[in-house]
């Protein structure tokens, strides 16, 4: 019994149909399931790119091969030449399809000779592979301007594809509601603008566009662009316009005014420089001390002595006068030198050339420096209050009504009109005391007229000029210390002025 079962088992082993079972099993063991992938056809700048992504990352193929076929073709799969045995996961299939055909694309992944991945994709170029159009918005008042552009240059579109870009469908979203799409034809233009009006102010409107030929899905629609229509948009623009106009109206007259003021010289005046000849030194030494003026010094000693007729017989012992006689040319000069010891102010008119200045006679430290010679200048300075040698230096400029200026407290200057000063020789004793008194006190504002010995009134000394005569005589023993000149002759610097002389001559 047991032997029969064993024999039967051995017979079954040899004659039972195991081979098909084993073959099928081995076949199952040899064929590995192919991995699938996700194929996506995208378009960017009119370049259609097929890309794939593996579902599982069990075994990555080393390279890929892309092939395609059309549904209407009876031929087998055609390999894409640029996408054979590639390592990247994308393939450009821009030039291989027709718009009306339905294509199948197949991606096969190999690892050596072993096929690991195989996946297929169906696409219809007319509706499946286009970039959405670009959209721009501009809102004003209650309307929105929508401008649609091609994603790239119009020249990049193939003729066979132009029918795909013939029209655009614009959808407007308001209050979370999309209205019915507005179809706008491109008419082979680079961009098309359409206006949607009668919108509600202070509302948000979003716009999206897609090519009319494409199936409505998120990939084929452009990103939403939104705008809020506010009532201030128009006023804002108007404000800007008003402000700009106001600025123009204000600035324009101001500019014109500035130009006129500049041209008239009211502003931005050019400084004109005066000639150098008119430039005066900053410190004018004084009107009495012009460098080009010849200065002739004169001493005036003022005495307040009693009137005394000048006489040779007079006892001169009461005074410290000394008479002298001198003959020169045709003139006989008699005079006396007196030195006043009184403390009173003494009017002494004494003139001398600056070059003949005797330092002994000058006890006053205030000696003005001689000025330059001039034809018409005679300077005098009267100084009162000197002690022993009361030397009055009087500087004056006797030209044209000269004026004197006080140099110190003790000195004062005065105009001496020598034409009013009595002048004559010593023989003239007939002068009355009154006359002498009048003459002798020019400080009492009596004019001094110069009168020669013949009584002829001399020329009014108005300026210092050189004159030989006239003699200047003070009958009351006044010293004549001034120098005079006629108006016609120039003053020479070599005038002889004697300190003790009672006459003045040049």
């Amino acid at each position: 019994m047991f032997l029969n079962q064993h024999t039967l088992f051995i017979g079954l082993l040899f004659f039972s149909p195991w081979e098909p079972i084993c073959f099928t099993w081995s076949h199952i063991l040899m064929d590995t399931p192919l991995q699938s992938c996700i194929l996506t056809m995208t378009s960017h700048n009119f370049q259609h790119i097929l890309s794939w992504k593996l579902n599982s990352s069990a075994t990555m193929p080393a390279h890929y091969t892309v092939s395609y076929t059309a549904m209407s073709d009876d031929e087998e799969w055609k390999a894409v030449e640029s996408c054979t045995n590639i390592t990247k996961s994308s393939c450009n299939m821009t030039d291989i399809y027709e718009n009306s055909e339905t294509y199948l694309s197949q991606v096969t992944g190999f690892n050596g000779k072993e096929k690991l991945v195989e996946c297929m994709h169906t696409f219809f170029p007319m509706t499946d592979i286009l970039d959405p159009p670009e959209v721009s918005l501009y809102g004003f008042k209650d309307a929105v301007n929508i401008t649609v552009y091609y994603p790239a240059s119009l020249s990049q579109i193939k003729n066979k594809e132009k029918e795909l870009f013939s029209a655009v469908v614009i959808k407007v979203l308001s209050s979370n509601k999309f209205n019915e799409g507005l179809t706008v034809e491109m008419d082979d233009k680079e961009n098309v603008t359409t206006t949607i009006d009668s919108l509600i102010l202070n509302s948000n409107y979003c716009v999206s566009a897609q090519w009319e030929s494409q199936i409505s899905k998120p990939e084929t629609q452009s990103p939403l662009k939104c705008i809020v229509l506010s009532s201030s948009q128009e006023s804002g623009s108007e404000d800007i316009t008003a402000i700009s106009f106001a600025a123009c109206f204000i600035s324009f007259p101001i500019i014109i005014l500035v130009i006129l003021l500049k041209k008239t010289g009211y502003i931005c005046r050019k400084q004109t420089h005066s000639p150098k000849a008119l430039d005066f030194p900053p410190v004018i030494p004084g009107p009495l001390q012009l460098p080009y003026v010849k200065i002739t010094r004169a001493e005036i000693i003022y005495k307040t002595k009693k009137k005394k007729i000048f006489n040779d017989s007079d006892d001169k012992s009461d005074s410290d006068c000394e008479s002298t006689e001198k003959v020169e040319n045709d003139y006989t000069m008699n005079g006396f030198t007196c030195r006043s010891q009184i403390q009173d102010s003494t009017l002494c008119l004494k003139g001398y050339n600056s070059t003949d200045l005797d330092p002994n006679e000058l006890e006053s430290p205030e000696v003005d420096p001689p000025l330059a010679d001039t034809d018409n200048a005679t300077s005098y300075e009267l100084k009162i209050g000197a002690d022993k040698s009361r030397v009055c230096q009087m500087w004056s400029h006797l030209s044209e009504g000269s004026t004197f200026s006080s140099r110190s407290e003790d000195c004062f200057n005065f105009n001496v009109n020598l034409s009013t000063v009595f002048m004559g020789d010593r023989g003239d004793d007939q002068e009355s005391e009154e006359d002498a008194a009048q003459i002798l006190l020019p400080v009492q504002e009596d004019t001094i007229s110069l009168v020669d010995s013949e009584g002829t009134e001399l020329k009014h000394i108005t300026h210092a000029t050189c004159v030989k005569t006239p003699l200047f005589h003070f009958p009351s023993k006044e010293y004549l210390c001034s120098e005079n000149a006629s108006s016609d002759e120039s003053v020479t610097s070599e005038s002889d002025m004697d300190l003790g002389d009672g006459y003045i001559r040049r």
Binding site: T69, M71, S72, D73, D74, N99, S100, E101, T102, L104, Q106, M120, H121, T122, F124, M126, T127, E163, S166, A167, T183, E212, S213, I215, S216
Partner: protein, 188 residues
């Protein structure tokens, strides 16, 4: 008397041209929408094609006159478009049409085609009343009849299999691409 009748005829032609111009614009607008919606619905019907259906390859020999219109006239385009839509409607309204396809999609597809056919018939009736045209002759529509008859024979031979219907749906989608070209002929 004769002059007044001539004036009336001229006025009739003038206004009819004006009306027809607006009518063709409306017709073109509706046709574009019909084409777009039909393509979208056909894409849903077709979906992803299985590679096994590739073995069912068939060249239906579309007439060249349909692929690229030679005489792009509005009246001729109206007639051609109407004929094509009519055949497509008959094809998808037969029994066992589009197996495995949602019936809603098929009904919507047929509704869109029918509405456009009505518009086209109204335009054709006005054209036939105005001018004694040759648009109604069967000679011009013979290639179209043969084409769609060949599609019907293919389905019958394949026993209305799913792959056969897939191929037919793909072919009809090509038809609407051709219809886009004819629709542009309606442009003034």
């Amino acid at each position: 008397m004769a002059n007044s009748s001539m004036v009336q005829l001229v006025l009739l032609l003038f206004f009819s041209a004006a009306v027809s111009s607006d009518q063709y614009d409306s017709l073109r607008f509706h046709q574009r929408r019909t084409n777009h919606r039909s393509l979208s619905l056909l894409k849903e019907m077709i979906g992803e094609i299985h590679p096994k259906c590739l073995r069912e390859g068939m060249d239906f020999k579309v007439p060249r006159e349909i692929v690229q219109p030679k005489q792009c006239q509005k009246e001729n385009a109206t007639m051609v478009i109407h004929e094509m839509l009519q055949h497509i409607f008959l094809l998808f309204s037969s029994k066992n049409a589009s197996p495995g396809v949602n019936e809603t999609i098929t009904e919507t597809f047929l509704s869109v085609i029918y509405q456009q056919m009505v518009h086209l018939e109204m335009a054709l009736e006005q054209e036939m009343h105005q001018v004694n045209s040759i648009w109604g002759s069967e000679d011009s529509t013979l290639p179209l009849n043969n084409y769609y008859q060949g599609i019907m024979n293919y389905l019958k031979s394949k026993e209305y299999s799913s792959c056969a219907w897939k191929r037919v749906q793909v072919e009809i989608r090509r038809n609407f691409v051709f219809l886009n070209n004819w629709t542009e002929c309606l442009k003034n």
